[in-house]
Structures are given as C-alpha cells and as structure tokens.
C-alpha cells in the first residue's frame, strides 16, 4: 500500500531559483536560508520518497484567469517547467504517475472534493523552487512528482479549513492505493509577505512562527481565521500559507517534528521549512 511517510513545507520565492542558478547559496544574504534546508534534504535523502505531491499555486503559467480551478490535480506522466515571463532556463521535465493521480482524483471526488483533473500541466516557480531547494537540481529527477494546485491568486480562495479537509481526504486517497510506495507531501508558499500596493514589504515574524508551531501541533488553530484576517496579518500573498494545511491534513494527528527552520527576509518574504514525520513507520 502507498504510505505517507511525512510532510515538508517550503516557501517558493522566485529569487530562490535565481540564487540556485547563480550558485549564491553560500553568499552572506543566502547562507542561513539555504543551510537551514540541509537537515530537510538529509531526511529526504535518507527516506527516499518514490512520489512527492507538491501543493502549490500557479502564478499565471498553466492557468490564465479565464478558468481558475480552486483545486487542480496533475494527472499526467510528465510535467514541464516553462518560461513564466522571466526567460529563466527551463528545468528538465518532471516525471509524474498518471495512474496514481487518477486514483487520487477518483477518491477525492468520492469524498466530495470535486477537483479539476489536468492531463497537461505546466509547472512554475511555485512547484520547482521547493523541489530544487530540497533535492538539488537534476537532469533526471530521482522521484516522481504530482502537482496539486490551489487557487491563491484570484479570490474567492478556499479557506484554511477547506485546505485542511482536503489534506484529510488526500490521506484517504493515497492510503487506499494498492502499490507499495513512499509518499511525501510538500506544502509550499508563504509565509508572510505582500508584494503589492503601498503595504508591500510587510513581514510578521511572530505570526509566522506561531503558524509554524500551530500547523505542526494544532492545525485547527489556523482555521479560526477568515482569508481576510489572514491577509490583514500575513499579507495579500502571505495567504499562500493555507496550502501548508493541505500537507498537514494528509498526516497523522500527532507527528514527529524532525526539523523547523525560519528565515526572514528572503526577497520580500518570511521563509519557513518544516519536516513532519508520520510516526507509524
């Protein structure tokens, strides 16, 4: 049976991809941020997941505003990273697992999560940067990955509560797949940041740390907030942290905290990394 061995979180800031491309990881600005990924990378290297489900938001590469699915699952055997406007070099294609994806789609819809299924899905920085930071950059990626896109771009967005419930449904969907394989859920985005308007540049370190700690130990805490309240506190783009709840919902109620790393600022953002392990393994 497919087994969820744990969940990882990571911000997906575009500048991280640039820093990796330019080899800046040990420059003073970046060193503490990237060094804090090493224990997470080591845990992944030790446990070698077969499949990584990446919960992220598309920033206007795969989806235009003509059709905006609240939740969209990649159901392809390959996902392509293409130019999203900044002329960066595209990375090697990411192998998927269409059979596993379709199984999850069926089981999610059966649990009343009426997701959008995508047989083609271009992936942007939201998907690729966390994978690069955690696994390094590969010509041949040593795992399969599946994109699960959450709309955090065009309101109305799903609530934190809804994201947590999606995670719980995802857990059932994954654990009912008969093939033996190890699955990791990667919750990306956040933490506090605002790119737009006169309020651009806010970072709320205390709120970020509270969110990290609560997501690990008491994720229901996040569900008390409306999206408006989260934006007021964490910024219009900081709302992305709700995607971590999809990851959290897919894990056991009590998890082992393997690693917790926070750094601010990276670009305009408070950046958080966590590794949460399911203890039954």
């Amino acid at each position: 049976m497919a087994k969820i061995i744990g969940g990882v979180t990571s911000s997906h800031i575009p500048a991280v991809g640039n820093a990796i491309d330019k080899g800046l990881q040990q420059e003073p600005y970046w060193k503490r941020f990237f060094d804090g990924y090493k224990p997470a990378a080591a845990w992944l290297e030790e446990h070698k997941p077969d499949v990584v489900i990446v919960v992220y938001n598309d920033h206007g590469l795969n989806f235009f505003l003509d059709k905006v699915p609240t939740f969209a699952l990649g159901c392809a055997d390959t996902y392509y990273h293409t130019d999203e406007g900044w002329a960066l070099n595209p990375l090697a294609p990411f192998p998927g697992d269409a059979q596993f994806s379709w199984h999850m789609a069926e089981k999610l819809v059966a649990q009343e999560f009426d997701i959008c299924t995508c047989q083609e899905m271009k992936v942007d920085h939201g998907f690729v940067n966390p994978l690069r930071a955690l696994f390094g950059t590969h010509e041949k990626w040593p795992f399969k990955s599946i994109p699960l896109a959450v709309n955090t771009v065009q309101h109305p967005l799903p609530t934190a509560a809804r994201c947590l419930k999606l995670g719980r449904a995802l857990r059932k969907a994954i654990e009912s797949y008969p093939e033996d394989m190890k699955v990791v859920i990667l919750g990306t985005g956040g933490m506090s940041h605002q790119l737009q308007g006169e309020r651009a540049g806010i970072i709320d370190v205390d709120f970020d740390l509270e969110c990290m700690e609560r997501i690990a130990s008491d994720p229901e805490w996040m569900t008390q907030f409306t999206n408006g309240e989260l934006i007021a506190r964490a910024g219009s783009e900081g709302i992305e942290t709700i995607m971590w709840l999809v990851m959290r919902g897919a894990l056991q109620d009590n998890v082992k905290i393997i690693h917790k790393h926070y750094h601010a600022p990276i670009s305009n953002t408070g950046a958080g990394v966590m590794v949460l392990e399911n203890t039954f393994i």
Binding site: D83, G85, V153, V205, S236
Partner: protein, 133 residues
C-alpha cells in the same frame, strides 16, 4: 447591481485580486499573461501601443501600461503576478515595484525588509525547537 463587500476591502494599501478587479481588468491581465512567451515580450517592446491595441487594452488601462505606472495598473485591477511578467523583463524587480508603490528608493525598501532579521536567531532560540545553525 453592486460588487459584494468583503472584510479585506478596508486593509490599507492592499488591492485584493477578486472578481471586481479580475472582471474590470480582464483584457489587461490577458495581455500581461501573454508575456510568458519571449516572442510576445519582444513584440511589446518594439511597439507597446500597438501591442495594447492588439489585446484591446484601451483608455486608462493603455495609458497606465505605456507610462509603466505599476501602482496605477494594480489599482485598476492588474494582478501582481501577471504584472511581474511585464516588470521583471523590463528590469523592474518586485522590490523595485514595492519601493515605487511606497514612493521610496529600492535601497530604503530593502533596508526595511532586512531589519526583520534583527534579533531573529535570539527569538528562535527563545521559542525553542528551531534550527539555529
């Protein structure tokens, strides 16, 4: 006929991208989305006004694009991620844009952000459980 009000409407200096913005600025965002492709970025660079016309971006929207008035575009309904597809290839980073939104220099904007790291490691140690190197 009215746009539904929201709890986020009153957050200062914040233009939450919802139906009201997405509807009004649909063609503008459609043009910005086209900048995912290099050929389109090049065509825009050669003749911005003609490119606006091609996408039906007219009136105040066109004026704001031609002036590269990013705050004006944002207020008119441009999505920040879509706007980045116009700004970044023109050498305007998100931090340059953030500074422009506030009427400060990029250096001032960055310094304010960097101040967030003051006392951070001590704070993480006090809370406990965080990687501190």
């Amino acid at each position: 006929m009215a746009w539904t009000k929201h709890d986020y409407d009153s957050i200062p200096g914040t233009y939450v991208f919802d139906g009201k913005h997405a509807h009004g600025a649909y063609l503008l965002n459609k043009m910005l989305y086209s900048f995912c492709e290099q050929d389109n970025r090049d065509e825009f660079a050669r003749d911005p006004a003609a490119y606006c016309d091609k996408y039906g971006v007219a009136g105040q929207y066109k004026d704001l694009v031609l002036k590269k008035d990013f705050l004006g575009m944002l207020r008119s309904g441009a999505n920040i991620y879509y706007m980045a597809k116009m700004a970044v290839p023109n050498g305007v980073s998100v931090q340059d844009a953030g500074a422009a939104f506030q009427g400060v220099t990029t250096k001032e904007f960055q310094d304010k952000l960097l101040a967030k790291s003051d006392g951070l490691v001590e704070k993480l140690k006090a809370r406990g459980g965080y990687w501190v190197g």
